[in-house]
Each structure stands twice: as structure tokens, then as C-alpha cells.
């Protein structure tokens, strides 16, 4: 919102990322290690963005990398980490423990209620839970409301209108129509509640091709779209590619060690790779192609994760 009626929203990744100002309230699409807007994240790091306030559900390398690069001031995700497999998010954890990032940890269901308030043009939304949880102590902005029918007191949350939502999709057209595969996580809600959607797509196709695949996020909700093959790497973007577990492990090792190791990762894959073309070269086209072979057989799929 408001609707974007332009017929051509195709931009280069640099100009697309430039639509995210320092200090912006940024919604990150995707979830865990799937469909995270990594090309935009890397470009924001290259452009030395600062003071971002990120919101979302359960995230991983997107938030951790932004924290590692010093781009985030406030983190309002419901989870940041690498699950049981690769463990805690090293840079996020370090920054939270050092107090260099403000942690306003939230809850998926609360974020959903806040996005719906924004989507419905309501000044607040009641929520059932939250009471009894210390999460509430991290959110002085929450209030209370009494039900006019039952007299019950519920936690009330304010609308959440991100300045920008960063989404990645396997397919899209230059008008901004995006096709996603499930789970959409919060991407549809972010698109409707945010002031602007900036998207990357693995492949730019005709409007007819997006319509044939199914339009998940319509053009009128999208402000800008950039074509970036493997734009979600090292996270997955099915049906095109599975996530790159060894790469995530490499990142977690570097970020855990910090210092020169982390600087080395950033230099090798982000700041020292001035474009996504360069990034793909460093990662290796063969490796990227291999991530697409999940569909060949269950054995091939399992091997990628072993």
C-alpha cells in the first residue's frame, strides 16, 4: 500500500536495494533457510546500510549477516538461528549479548496480528496469548483492551507497517507480479501491510508465464523487481534449488570465530564480490547447478543434505 500502478518496475539490484534507506523498518520474506532475500541482503551490506529495524517470523543467515555487517539496530524477529542442525546465530548472539543490537524478540502470531491491523486499516488488534510470557516485557508499545461483550481483558497490539518488505520469488514479471511456492510464510501479509515491496526473482518472465504459474503477490503491491539468478542462495528457492547446507556451515563457522574469519567470509562473498555475478562465480556455477539436482532422485536430494 498504496497500490503501485506502474507498468515497468524492473531495476538493477543496486537501485532496488537503494530503495531501503538507513534506519528503515524492514520486513524480511521467507523463513528459516528458505526463500530469504539474500541478494538484497548482500547488496545492502555492500551499500553499507545502517540502523535497520528488521521484523519477521523465523529467520537465519539473512538477519545474522546483516548483524555481522553492522547494518541492524533493532531486531524484532520471532527467531534467528540455524535450528538444531547448525545451532545459534553467531553474529546475532554476539551482538545481543554485547548490547550492540536491540532485541525486541516477537512472536509469529503477534506479528501476524499486527500486520493484519495494518492490512485492515485498524489502529489496533486484540490477541489471545502473550499474557504470561516475558516477551511482553520487550514490547512497551503493547496495550490492553477490554472486550465489550465478555469483559475479558486482552493484549492489544498496534499495526505494523514496514517501510519496505524484501521478498524473493522464483518467477516474476517486470510489472511486479510474483509467483511463490508454499509455504508463503508472511510474504503475502508483508506485501499488503508494507509501504513498498522490493523483490528479486530468479527469473524474469512474461506476465502470461507468471499468470500460468499463479500470481501469489500481485503487481499492484510491488514497487520494484530485480532479476537475480540464485537470489536466495545459500537458502532454498524451490522448485529451482535446495538450500546450500555446506555453505551455511561455512558461514556459521566463520561467524562463530568472528574477527578475521568473519571478515574473510564477508570479503570473499559480499563486499569483495561487488555484484551478484561475482558472488555466483565465487560460489561456483557447478555448486549452484548441483543444488538444482534435488529433483533427480531421493538419493540425490539426501546427498545434498548429508
Amino acid at each position: 500500500m498504496p497500490f503501485q500502478l506502474g507498468a515497468d518496475k524492473l531495476l538493477g539490484l543496486d537501485r532496488a536495494a537503494a530503495l531501503v534507506p538507513d534506519g528503515a523498518l524492514v520486513a524480511l520474506g521467507g523463513g528459516l533457510s528458505a526463500r530469504l532475500p539474500m541478494a538484497l541482503v548482500r547488496e545492502l551490506v555492500r551499500q553499507r546500510r545502517r540502523g535497520l529495524h528488521v521484523v519477521g517470523s523465523a529467520h537465519g543467515i539473512d538477519v545474522d549477516l546483516l548483524v555481522a555487517a553492522g547494518a541492524i539496530a533493532v531486531c524484532e524477529e520471532s527467531y534467528v538461528g540455524f535450528e538444531q542442525d547448525l545451532g545459534l546465530a553467531p553474529a546475532y548472539r554476539r551482538a545481543a549479548e554485547a548490547g550492540s543490537v536491540e532485541v525486541r524478540e516477537s512472536c509469529c502470531a503477534t506479528v501476524l496480528a499486527q500486520l493484519r491491523a495494518a492490512e485492515c486499516g485498524l489502529p489496533f488488534m486484540p490477541v489471545r496469548g502473550v499474557k504470561g510470557s516475558d516477551i511482553r516485557s520487550l514490547h512497551p508499545e503493547y496495550g490492553e483492551v477490554t472486550c465489550p461483550f465478555t469483559g475479558e481483558t486482552l493484549v492489544a497490539v498496534p499495526p505494523l507497517c514496514p517501510d519496505v518488505a524484501l521478498l524473493h520469488a522464483p518467477l516474476g514479471d517486470r510489472r511486479g507480479n510474483l509467483h511463490l511456492e508454499q509455504p508463503y510464510v508472511l510474504d503475502e501479509r508483508f506485501a499488503a501491510a508494507s509501504r513498498a515491496v522490493v523483490a528479486t526473482v530468479d527469473e524474469l518472465v512474461s506476465t502470461d508465464a507468471v499468470v500460468a504459474a499463479g500470481v501469489t503477490v500481485p503487481a499492484h503491491l510491488v514497487a520494484a523487481v530485480a532479476e537475480v539468478p540464485y537470489g536466495a542462495h545459500p537458502t532454498s528457492c524451490y522448485p529451482r534449488y535446495a538450500y546450500d547446507r555446506p555453505h551455511l556451515a561455512e558461514y556459521v563457522r566463520a561467524a562463530t570465530a568472528g574477527g578475521a574469519d568473519l571478515a574473510g567470509y564477508l570479503d570473499r562473498y559480499v563486499t569483495g564480490a561487488p555484484t551478484e555475478e561475482a558472488y555466483r562465480k565465487v560460489v561456483g556455477e557447478d555448486r549452484l547447478a548441483a543444488l538444482g539436482r534435488w529433483s533427480e532422485s531421493t538419493a540425490a536430494w539426501q546427498e545434498l543434505f548429508a
Partner: protein
């Protein structure tokens, strides 16, 4: 028949599921994830299984991958819920059971997945609670688990931070807060199985055979009540083990256990009360 502790543990989790329940697990929970598939293919064939981070309904994954949001976990699912569709169902009370763990779990089943030490300057910043702080309020029953009981840091008298409410917090009881969900029903650890007494405190019900009550007391930060009918954990059945091994060829469940506990293996023959 031989089996390892991680296998027995997952079967113990699976047995907390009743048939015809609607069951959900959070992400980063391989043991719970595998347990749900074990239950659905043994004693709970009519349960509705909601895959944690994909919201896929009754999938038959070719394998359980190391990440919770992967297409493998949607294979064979006739339906995939939307994010909001699942959360709405859970918040209105249509989900019967959720599996929940925590870096800290206290006597009342409150869990902490947010921070060890003061949240303003944590000693350890944990990953975070996902949707738990609302889901724990309204989902019918919670099965809690930890694989780090022995560490002495997991079961504590009081959580440094309550991410997800159990039976009672300083704010009051579930009833006092108007919560519709029943709260924690079971707590499964690598040492044994707890239920909750009328006052909402954890109570030891079952022990793994290589563990004694004193081991449990020594590892537990709150005073351990013991059920009068304390028994060994019923061993896994052959069917359960077969399903488990087929469902988790990568052994992702093992990532939750310490090296020491992964070495615990068991053998048993056909005795009365044996499930196999």
C-alpha cells in the same frame, strides 16, 4: 532387539500423541518431527499431522532434512495450510497438541528459548520462541522435551525468561489468565518421563533403565516429585523402530543428543508389557 537411546526417546515422545489428535511441532525439533511420523504410522493413524515450518498436512516425507522449512517435508501432503490458517486454527483451539522444548524448563513447565541471564544483557542469547508465546496459550496439550537434562542447566526452579507459559507464572495460573489450552501434559528427557501434578508441577513417572532417581534429582534444578507408580519407560516396539528408521535415514534426530547419550544402547527380548 537392539536400539539406541535416541530411538527410544523419539518413541517415548511419539507415545504422548493420542489417535485423532491434531498435532504440531515447532522448527528446530527433529526428535518431535520424527516422533509425529512414528505415531501417525503406528498407534495414531488418524491423527492430523501439521509439519512445523511448512504447515503441510499429513505429508509422507522421503526423509527428514536438517532444516524444518524444506520441500521434502511437504511431499505427499494433500494440503498445505497458509501460515495464518495454521495460527488461526491453533489460536481458536482446533490444534490438540504441540511439541515444545527450551534451553530452560522450570517446574511448572514454563520454557525459555530467549535468553540465559538477564535479557537486557544475556549470558547466552538463544534463538527465540517462534509462535510459541501465543500457541502455548491455546493449543490443547503440550508435550515438552529436552535432551540436555543431564547438563543440570535445562531443568531449573525458575526460568531466567519465560518465553512460553506452562502451568503457572508470577502473572498467575492459566485459568487466571483466561487461557483455553491445557498446558504441559508430558515432559520427556533423556533420563525419564514426567507428567504434571494437580498443582501443575512436574512429577517423575518413568525412568530409562540405566538411570536412577538420584541421577534425576542430581540433574534437576527443582525438587523432583516422584509418582507412587514410578516405572521404567516402556520399550519401543519393532513397528515403531521400523517406521522411525525409515522416516529418518539421515539421523537428524541424533543432532539433539550429547555424544555420551548417543552411545546408550539397549537390548530386550519379548517380555510381558513389551511393545514389540
Amino acid at each position: 532387539m537392539n536400539f539406541s537411546l535416541d530411538e527410544w526417546f523419539v518413541v517415548a515422545l511419539a507415545r504422548t500423541i493420542r489417535d485423532r489428535e491434531v498435532v504440531f511441532h515447532g522448527f528446530g525439533s527433529p526428535c518431535a518431527q520424527v516422533a509425529m511420523h512414528v505415531a501417525r504410522h503406528t498407534h495414531a493413524r488418524d491423527m492430523l499431522l501439521v509439519e512445523g515450518a511448512t504447515y503441510a498436512v499429513n505429508p509422507d516425507p522421503p526423509f527428514v532434512p536438517p532444516t524444518g522449512n524444506d520441500l521434502a517435508l511437504q511431499q505427499g501432503a494433500p494440503y498445505r495450510m497458509r501460515f495464518e490458517e495454521f495460527f488461526d486454527a491453533a489460536v481458536r483451539g482446533d490444534v490438540d497438541r504441540m511439541f515444545l522444548s527450551g534451553g530452560q524448563i522450570d517446574a511448572y513447565g514454563n520454557t525459555n528459548v530467549t535468553a540465559i541471564g538477564p535479557v537486557s544483557a544475556p549470558k547466552v542469547k538463544l534463538g527465540g520462541g517462534g509462535g510459541g508465546c501465543n500457541l502455548a496459550a491455546t493449543i490443547g496439550h503440550l508435550t515438552l522435551w529436552t535432551t540436555r537434562h543431564r547438563s543440570g542447566r535445562a531443568l531449573v526452579e525458575r526460568c531466567d525468561f519465560v518465553t512460553d507459559m506452562g502451568h503457572r507464572t508470577p502473572e498467575g495460573s492459566r485459568a487466571e489468565l483466561g487461557f483455553t489450552g491445557g498446558g504441559p501434559e508430558w515432559l520427556v528427557t533423556e533420563l525419564g518421563v514426567f507428567d504434571y501434578d494437580a498443582g501443575g508441577r512436574a512429577r517423575l513417572r518413568q525412568l530409562f533403565p540405566d538411570v536412577g532417581v538420584e541421577d534425576v534429582r542430581a540433574a534437576t534444578g527443582f525438587e523432583v516429585g516422584v509418582a507412587p507408580d514410578l516405572r521404567p519407560v516402556p520399550p519401543p516396539g519393532t513397528a515403531e523402530l521400523a517406521v522411525l528408521r525409515a522416516a529418518d535415514p539421515l539421523g537428524v534426530r541424533r543432532s539433539e543428543f550429547s555424544a555420551r547419550d548417543l552411545e546408550r544402547t539397549f537390548t530386550h527380548g519379548h517380555r510381558p508389557g513389551c511393545g514389540c
